[in-house]
């Protein structure tokens, strides 16, 4: 009898503790690759998201209905595949009762996650690069990094301006949803600029030997190579192989993140490469918050943050702003107020917009930065603050 009372008391205490924790804590979900070849994107993203939660909690939490809530971020491994993406959605929504995914990486897993989040009234922030993840069919999905429509035109225009003699381009992308979507966008934007696309090749993400593809690219004899959505380590290997084959064209990575990985892999062969998503978070244009986060990541993870990682931080901040503006954790209400709200992220003040492009304001408005590798370092060559953001901020 006594033992039953003790067990019952302990259970009651546990349940009480859980209930009170559930009342005071908002759990955000993050679906990223934490294992496999794309794990470096997920590990950095998770780290940045945890820093955002720490910052919010240190500042008193999220204010809703006259009460403060602590934030907890739970990251689940989507292995960069659609199947595991669906599993992460199931786990976070059913088990953890998550109402907001503050970051999700990979077009294939994100498309799988969307099939559940849109149906279950769950808000999804993503860095998925493909255009097909947003629009009126996905009203609860918001992209928090620049995507092809924001990045490709400025970077390609810069290349055309600086290399007027270049008339042809060959495209190279990973053979998955991100790569296929990007190849279509790249082709469209290059052709709009009057550059002829003489080849569009794909490779599997697990590829480790790039001589065959490099031989093929060299045989295309194009003026420009655009490795659009190719990860920096793979792009570095290809540049090394192309250098052996004597290829000397203009090198572009439209969706290029991680300049340091590219330089470490390709060495001097990376010089001159234009990149669309390789903002230097250590450089003079970075905000103090970005510099602080980058220094912390170098210490904790032994690597610099890239644009996708930074999305981990910004997604949590966007979720906080949305909840506080809506006064509720309701995806539909938050989706409605977010584009009307100006809030702080690692880049400074922002909001969601680009209704003219996507039909709905689902794109986070952040600076577009085109960099070029010069002497082993990413040097900013063009920085554009979106006109819509300038207008909204009254600049």
């Amino acid at each position: 009898m006594k033992r039953a009372a003790v067990v019952g008391g302990a259970l009651a205490l546990m349940l009480g503790a859980t209930a009170s924790r559930a009342q005071d804590t908002i759990i955000f979900g993050v679906s990223v690759p934490l294992s496999g070849a794309a794990a470096s994107w997920g590990i950095g993203t998770d780290w940045a998201a945890q820093q955002a939660a720490k910052d919010i909690n240190a500042a008193g939490g999220i204010k809703m209905g006259g009460k403060s809530y602590k934030v907890e971020v739970r990251s689940v491994d989507n292995k960069y595949t659609a199947g595991d993406g669906a599993k992460t959605a199931e786990t976070l929504i059913s088990r953890d009762k998550v109402k907001i995914f503050t970051q999700s990486v990979g077009t294939a897993p994100v498309k799988a996650i969307q099939s559940l989040t849109e149906r279950e009234n769950v808000l999804l922030f993503t860095s998925a690069w493909g255009r097909t993840v947003k629009g009126k069919d996905f009203p609860l999905t918001f992209t928090i990094i620049n995507t092809p429509d924001e990045v490709l035109k400025p970077i390609y225009s810069t290349v055309k301006q600086r290399h007027a003699q270049a008339k042809t381009v060959v495209l190279l992308n990973p053979n998955d949803a991100s790569g296929q979507d990007t190849a279509k966008d790249s082709r469209r934007f290059w052709e709009e600029l009057g550059i002829k696309v003489v080849g569009s090749h794909f490779f599997e993400r697990s590829t480790t030997e790039f001589q065959p593809i490099a031989t093929k690219i060299a045989a295309d004899k194009s003026d420009i190579l655009d490795m659009s959505a190719t990860p920096p380590a793979n792009a570095g290997s290809i540049l090394k192989e192309l250098s052996v084959l004597g290829w000397k064209g203009v090198k572009v990575i439209g969706a290029g993140t991680g300049a340091d990985v590219l330089v470490r892999t390709a060495g001097a062969d990376a010089d001159g490469t234009y990149m669309g998503l390789a903002a230097d978070f250590d450089g003079p244009s970075a905000t103090p918050k970005q510099r602080e986060l980058n220094a912390g990541a170098k210490k904790a993870l032994n690597e610099s943050l890239n644009v996708i990682h930074m999305g981990g931080y910004d997604g949590v901040m966007a979720a906080k702003a949305g909840i506080e503006a809506a006064g509720a954790i309701d995806a539909k209400k938050i989706a409605e107020v977010l584009p009307k709200t100006i809030f702080d992220i690692s880049y400074g003040k922002t909001t969601f917009g680009s209704k003219d492009i996507y039909g709905t304001p689902q794109q986070m408005l952040i600076p577009i930065v085109v960099t070029q590798i010069q002497g082993g370092k990413a040097v900013e060559v063009v920085r554009i603050l979106p006109d819509e953001l300038k207008k909204r901020l009254g600049q």
Binding site: A39, T215, S237
Partner: protein, 292 residues
Amino acid sequence: MELLAQLLANTLQIGAVYVLFALGLTLIFGVMKVVNFAHGEFFSLAALIVAASMPLLPAAFPSWLNYLVALAAAIAAVAVLGAIIYRIGFERYLRDLVGSFILSVGLILLLQGIMTEIFTASPRPVDAIVTGNVTVLGARITAQRLLIMALALLFTGLLYVVLQRTRLGKALRAASEDREAAMLQGIRYRTISLYGWLIGVSMAGLAGALMAPLSPIQPAIGADYLIKAFIIIIVGGLGSIPGAIVGGLLVAAIESVCGFYFDLTIATIFMFVLVMAFLLVRPQGLMGHVER
């Protein structure tokens, strides 16, 4: 002519590492009759050790010397880990395909997790050991690739000599062909299995260590090689050493030629079609034996 020479050079460059990796896998299958699905993790571990230790070695020493030290350390580490895993796990599942399958799949998850924790998932490039390019019959190849190919050829030859000419090699081949008959001749099967396993995982480690200067290394890199190795040993013949060599070069040729004329995805599909054709028409592969 130049293009043909380039495609041939690509085949030999790619094939050199494939052959070494597949030799280890086929040797383990031949002797122990287990399929080691964790073979790629030994490859990754050695490559990661080389990539992580090279920057720590004295910069005053020549790169090739530092590389040889890192390579020796990597193979030693793989052999020690291999011995521990054999004693704890595989020794209990000799000639047990189901048990060893479950064990090796579990090992993939365990070793991948540990490697990601220790080395991080970020790709690690290794600085060039030797610099410069060489042109042979119009085909351009880096001096580094040439050195790696020479080393791969040397080690493949060494393994071949060990298997053909030494008592250990004869015992390994005997255990591989007929375990009972080998035991009747006084060969201690468990001891020979351990040696076969250690040589096999060391070959995987060697392939990984040789690959490290050629491609950025991260913990999942072994997975691609494992798939290729299965294709190689099915085409070449399960348990056959010459089959692994022929199969390795064939797979590399498909990757090189199909990758150029079509693309790498078509090349991979073609390899799988080839595997299916072999399983249907000649399941013992090009050089394997029919088990009755």
